[in-house]
Structure formats: C-alpha cells, structure tokens
Amino acid sequence: MASEPFGFDLLTSYLILGAALLALGMLGFLTRRNLIVMFLSAEMMLQGVSLTLVGFGRYHGTWTGQVLTIMILTVAACEAAIALVLVLVLYNRRHSLDVSLWQDIRDPGQPPVVDRPEEAEPLEPSRGPETYPQLTTAGIEPAHPSLSTTERRD
C-alpha cells in the first residue's frame, strides 16, 4: 500500500505488468479486424503506459507520473469520442465494422488482403426454438393433485 516503501523490486513489478499490457494490446490491434476491438486494444496499450508512469512517479517521489497519467486520461477521452464518431460514420457507409473494407486508403500497390472463410473460427450453431423452455400457455389451468379447489391449502 502507500504506507510501505516503494522499492526497486516493486517498481520492476509495475513495469513488467505495464509491458505485458502493452504487448497484449499491440497483439489485439494488429490481429483483430473489428474496428471497435482494435480501438479497445489501443486503449489497453495506454493503460499499460499509465501503469509504468505511475510506478516511476511513486518510485522517484514526485507527482509527475500521476500528472502525465491524467493527461493520458484526457487525451484518451477525446480520442475515444472522435474515434467512435468516425466509426459510426464508416459504419453508415458500408454497414459493417470490418476494417478490411477500407483497404484502398492504404499505400497504392499493396497486395489486397482477401477474406478467406475457411480460415475463420467455426460458428457454433445457435439452438433453435425447439430447445427453448416450455411454459404452459396462459389461461390454461395446469394439472392439480386430486384435491378440489376448496380443499387445497396452497
């Protein structure tokens, strides 16, 4: 906690966690093709950087790490607002969140990235109406034990 000295080993631990979040965020950004998940991965890279900054700030005994993290927070909020608006505009054009639909804004002369359905993860078929729970139709009285309605006690 804050009531314990912040040594070099604890700083290294924070830096290790920041590096892990950064690398995993980069993996998500490069791999996924959904615009929203790509942007979430970029935000996770910023979280890793925030951990590093807070660790260094506490280690050196200054507020600077926390101040820079507040700036990161502000910039991330602005970036989220504008990026999501742009995602909405792009979605209105093509009705898809796929980033491969916008490949023609890359450098000219690049080989096109083609979608191959046989490489996709197999879709689990959703169970149909025959697996839904069966409820009694409204208005039909369910079967009772042989007691008449005047003798039942429930």
Binding site: G7, S13, A19, L21, V54, W63, L88, L97
Partner: protein, 283 residues
C-alpha cells in the same frame, strides 16, 4: 542465461502459444473447443509464470491484493484480445481497467484510481457499448471470427514482450544477477533528495536553480524511508498544487483539446446534406 531470463523465456513461449490458440481462427482440423481449452490452460500458465517474476511488497495483505490485481489484469487482457464477441471484449477491458485501478491504489495514487474508474470504466466503455449496440454484430460476422495473420502478429508482439521483460529483469535488483543496482544510497533515488544533495555540493547559484527544478510542491509527501504517511486530504491537495502550478500550461492545453474534440465530434456526427445550387439559377 540466468534463472530470471529462463523464466521470462518460458512466460513468453507459454503466452505466445496460449494466445495464438485462443485467437479466433481455424486451427486446422482441431475442434475449436479443444483449441480453446488448451489455449486457456497455456494462458493461465503464462499468467502464473508472469506472477512468479513479480516481487511485490512483503506485507501479506498488500502482496495478496497485488497478485490478485496483476493476475486479473493479465488474464483480462488475454481474454479481451481473443474474445469473438465485441461486447465480451469491452467487458473484459472494463475488468482490465478495474485491475489497473487497484494497482494505482497500491502505488498511492488514489485520486487517479477514482478518476480512471469514472472516466474509463464509466464513460469510455459505456460509449463503446453504445456504438457496439448500434452496429449489432453479436460476434457472428466473418470479420469477428477471423484474425489477421495471427502467427506473425503473435511472434512479433511476444518478441517485443520478451525484449521488454528481459531488459527489466536483467537490470539489477536481485541477488546474484548480472547487472547493476542503481548506484547511490537508497534515499537518493527520490528526486527531491537527489536534487537537495546535489545542491549542497555546488555553489549557491547552482543550488538555487536546482531547488527550483524540483520544488517542494512537486514532491510526494513522503517521510524519510519513502513511505507516504497517510491517505488523508493531503493527497488531492498535493496533486492539485503541482498540477495547477507546475503543469498549468498542460492543463489549459488539455482543456482546449477537450473542447476541440467536443466540437469535432458534434460536427462529424451530424452530417448535413450539401447545399447544391438549383439548376437554371444563374447570377
């Protein structure tokens, strides 16, 4: 290589294998469920080995909470990156943010933890969920179930992670390791005391300049061993004191940036039809 370096290599190999199995793509003729199970086991082992590398404070409760937050942030990150349904990705990102916030509290940054929860988990993730609801993909679309070049991306990102972790564990700190401890007395790591000690060795003008470099208001209110004495109202007052004096320009620029983002988002989100001149109208 030393023990720590072998642990780092093991962690990176486990993480790379587990994440690439969990990423959404067809794994040859293996069933998706088997691949996910094996990938999940490997990812949990990756988290365990990464936690083995960490050295939190010796206190029992704070060490327990540190391991808890660290494990949930790493596992939440892996699950966020590999979820097929984008709503699940957003929720795992919320879990990562909450774990990071816990780590902020353990480092003594309580205000930052509270503001991160409010802004990230409260505003940004909710906005993401609204946009996902508008787009309604539900994780069944082809672009959600396909990962782009998963093997190349996994190799390059985990090579980066290996380089970072290797350089972190090899730079000093542990007994018997190759590397150097940070030189100087432990107390001089604190920026304020380093500046004070340097200022005492030099003539008065240099000492005056050095004392302006790291003034008292930009130092954490620690005592001699580097311990923050309490978590009372001094925290936010100290943060505000340095934020609005040392970093005043940054705060103003951040405010202008927020305003520009607001105006820009409102302008982009409400498209107007272009005004075209009526045919036959000539000036």
């Amino acid at each position: 290589m030393s023990d720590q370096a072998w642990l780092v290599t093991l962690a990176v190999v486990l993480g790379g294998a587990g994440t690439s199995l969990l990423l959404p793509h067809r794994q040859g003729t293996t069933k998706a469920r088997t691949a996910h199970f094996v990938g999940g086991i490997l990812s949990i082992l990756f988290a365990v080995v990464t936690l083995w590398l960490l050295r939190p404070t010796p206190g029992v409760l704070s060490g327990l909470f540190f391991y808890l937050f660290a494990a949930s942030s790493v596992l939440g990150a892996v699950l966020m990156v590999t979820s097929v349904n984008p709503v699940h990705s957003a929720l795992w990102f919320a879990a990562v943010v909450l774990a990071t916030t816990g780590l902020f509290v353990l480092a003594g940054a309580q205000f930052l933890a509270a503001s991160t929860v409010i802004i990230y988990a409260g505003a940004i993730i909710v906005t993401f969920l609204f946009v996902i609801m508008l787009a309604q993909s539900r994780g069944t679309a082809l672009y959600d179930r396909t990962a782009r070049f998963p093997s190349r991306a996994t190799v390059s990102c985990f090579a980066l992670l290996w380089a970072l972790l290797y350089s972190l564990v090899m730079v000093g700190g542990r007994e018997g390791e190759a590397g150097t401890r940070p030189t100087g007395e432990p107390g001089l790591v604190r920026m304020g005391r380093m500046v004070d000690a340097a200022g005492q060795q030099h003539p008065e003008q240099v000492a005056a300049v050095l004392s302006q470099a790291v003034p008292q208001r930009s130092r954490l209110s620690e005592n001699e061993e580097g311990v923050l004495p309490g978590v009372g109202p001094r925290h936010v007052a100290g943060l505000g004191g340095t934020l609005f004096t040392d970093h005043l320009i940054s705060v103003q620029v951040a405010g202008v940036l927020l305003f520009i983002a607001l105006v820009g988002a409102a302008a982009i989100a409400t498209p107007k039809l272009p005004v075209r001149p009526r045919p036959g109208l000539r000036d």
